[in-house]
């Protein structure tokens, strides 16, 4: 086909901006073997949480003494994780990462602070609600992904079933049974009883929330932070509740 012909045809690509909050794995030790073991144990608790999740490796305090990054990448991928970028890396480690196909993010100690304080602002859920969502931070990456529509489920989600709304919100208009799992990259709304597991922000979006009209969950998680049913959330059992992430903590708040 000639160049002029292809000009008239559909362009071969479209560039779209999309902000996405990413999960950061901050390294506190360069003992990769131990790190892998601990991560594995963490994943075993809630295997669906981080599977395939895009991950930024923050070299943090071990930047100076880490041997390189190739071995670490292999270990993370072995666990089913998808590292896509490094930040705060030593120059030679950054070079190695580039060669291995990773993006290198700008140093962003400042924006990290900003984001931490932004999370604090969510503390008062009511307040956060009246605000527009936080401005994207410097460290965010724009991904050319199509915008997805929310997914709506009208039939009960049964034990052994798993529903995943990739890239968007999930609305369930029926019961989520014990032993069932509902997952969304965005919010999860459940208008029946939630007796199973609900996971919001599965791709790492800490602004995602879980809303349910009858809370009786086995496990809830947002952006990789999870909580099984225990005494601390017992007071919300059988009530309407929303769950949001405040820093590292899942916070519960009565709905209505």
């Amino acid at each position: 086909m000639s160049a002029t012909a292809s000009l008239a045809a559909e362009p071969t690509f479209v560039i779209k901006g999309r902000m996405q909050t990413l999960t950061v794995l901050r390294l506190n030790s360069s003992d990769w073997q131990q790190l892998q073991a601990e991560l594995e144990a963490h994943l075993a608790q809630a295997p669906q949480l981080l599977k395939g999740m895009p991950l930024v490796i923050d070299c943090g305090d071990v930047a100076e003494k880490m041997p390189g990054i190739a071995d670490l990448l292999n270990r993370l991928r072995e666990l089913g994780l998808s590292p896509i970028a490094v930040q705060n890396a030593r120059t030679d480690v950054a070079d190695q990462a580039t060669k291995l196909g990773l993006a290198v993010l700008r140093e962003n100690k400042e924006s990290e602070k900003e984001s931490e304080s932004a999370v604090k602002a969510v503390e008062s859920a009511a307040k956060a609600e009246s605000q527009p969502s936080q401005a994207p931070e410097q460290g965010d990456i724009e991904l050319a992904e199509p915008k997805t529509t929310p997914m709506t489920i009208t039939r009960p989600v049964r034990s052994g079933q798993q529903i995943y709304a990739r890239g968007g919100d999930l609305v369930v208009l029926a019961t989520v049974s014990a032993g069932a799992e509902v997952i969304a990259d965005g919010h999860v709304h459940i208008y029946g009883a939630l007796n199973g597991r609900a996971i919001a922000g599965a791709a790492g979006d800490g602004d995602a929330r879980i809303f349910c009209s009858n809370f009786n969950a086995e496990l809830v998680a947002i952006a990789g932070r999870y909580k099984t049913s225990d005494a601390s959330n017992d007071q919300y059992r059988d009530t309407a509740v929303q769950i949001a992430l405040d820093g590292e903590q899942l916070v519960y708040k009565a709905l209505n």
């Binding site: 989600v157 049964r158 034990s159 052994g160 079933q161 019961t175 014990a178 069932a180 009883a193």
Partner: protein, 270 residues
């Protein structure tokens, strides 16, 4: 059009075969031409409960393997008009069943029968899956205990996702709940889940509650479906269930604890 109905549960020993025999017999008693198929290859229970175990010449597997025709394998019930049984093989293993073969046999039966009742084996493995694969409707038999309810929930998920209707995006299988081996007294003592508890967890239509009853064992020992024992509570509960299935509005009986009768109150009986 024939209706294919699977009697399923996940858990074993909850009353699937008892229900298949009673329900199928009940439909035939109402004049509907009905065939019962035993999918529990290797165990062969249905023919015992129907009392035709000595009349099995060819079975379901023989038909699937082309060793006999459907007509040769169908056993006609001696008591009830319009009722036929297709027995399972006791000697073959489960792998003799295959999806394509089951489909072929069901298609053939659909030409002759109004109702095809598939008695599923326990579990969620191949046999159970094949029994439900072609179903139009499902009766999920559940006992009022947590593990049974959980298994039924799982089976409902499979019915909604791994069956022909689901795969072809047709109207979903119609699901109904049969709560079996129900003991109102034990429910009242908090030893078992109540009808309401189970319904709340499973959220499907309740077709019938069958009480725990010695009559079931007596009937199966004598090779008779319990629905023919009209004086028994279980038999009556199955009759109600069939009426309800056919669209008659019948209230649920046998769900409340028995009130002590006048005499037992008077003499402090029990």
């Amino acid at each position: 059009m024939a209706k294919i109905i699977v009697i399923t549960s996940g858990k074993g020993g909850v009353g699937k075969t008892t229900t298949s025999a009673a329900f199928g017999t009940g439909l035939a008693l109402k004049g509907h031409k009905t065939v019962l198929i035993d999918f529990d290859v290797g165990l062969r229970n249905l023919d015992l409960i129907m009392g035709c175990e000595r009349r099995v010449v060819y079975d379901f597997i023989n038909v699937i393997q082309g060793e006999a025709t459907v007509q040769q394998a169908l056993i006609k019930d001696k008591r009830v008009e319009n009722l036929f049984i297709l027995a399972a093989s006791q000697t073959r293993d489960k792998d003799a069943l295959n999806q394509e073969g089951v489909g072929r046999v069901l298609e053939q039966l659909a030409k002759d029968f109004e109702y095809i009742i598939c008695d599923s084996p326990a579990g969620i493995e191949k046999g159970a899956h094949l029994a439900m694969y072609y179903a139009d409707e499902a009766m999920v038999v559940t006992n009022p205990e947590v593990s049974s309810v959980r298994d039924s929930d799982r089976v409902l998920g499979i019915l909604a996702s791994k069956t022909k209707r689901a795969e072809e995006n047709k109207e979903p299988i119609k699901e109904r709940l049969i709560l079996s081996r129900y003991s109102p007294d034990r429910v009242a003592r908090g030893e078992m889940l109540s009808v309401e508890d189970v319904q709340e967890i499973l959220s499907i239509d309740l077709l019938g509650v069958i009480p725990e009853s010695q009559a079931v064992l007596n009937a199966s020992n004598s090779g008779e479906p319990v629905i023919l024992h009209e004086d028994s509570e279980a038999g009556q509960a199955y009759r109600d269930l069939v009426d309800r299935y056919l669209g008659v509005d019948v209230p649920h009986r046998f769900v409340d604890p028995k009130k002590p009768g006048f005499f037992s109150r008077l003499f402090g009986g029990n």
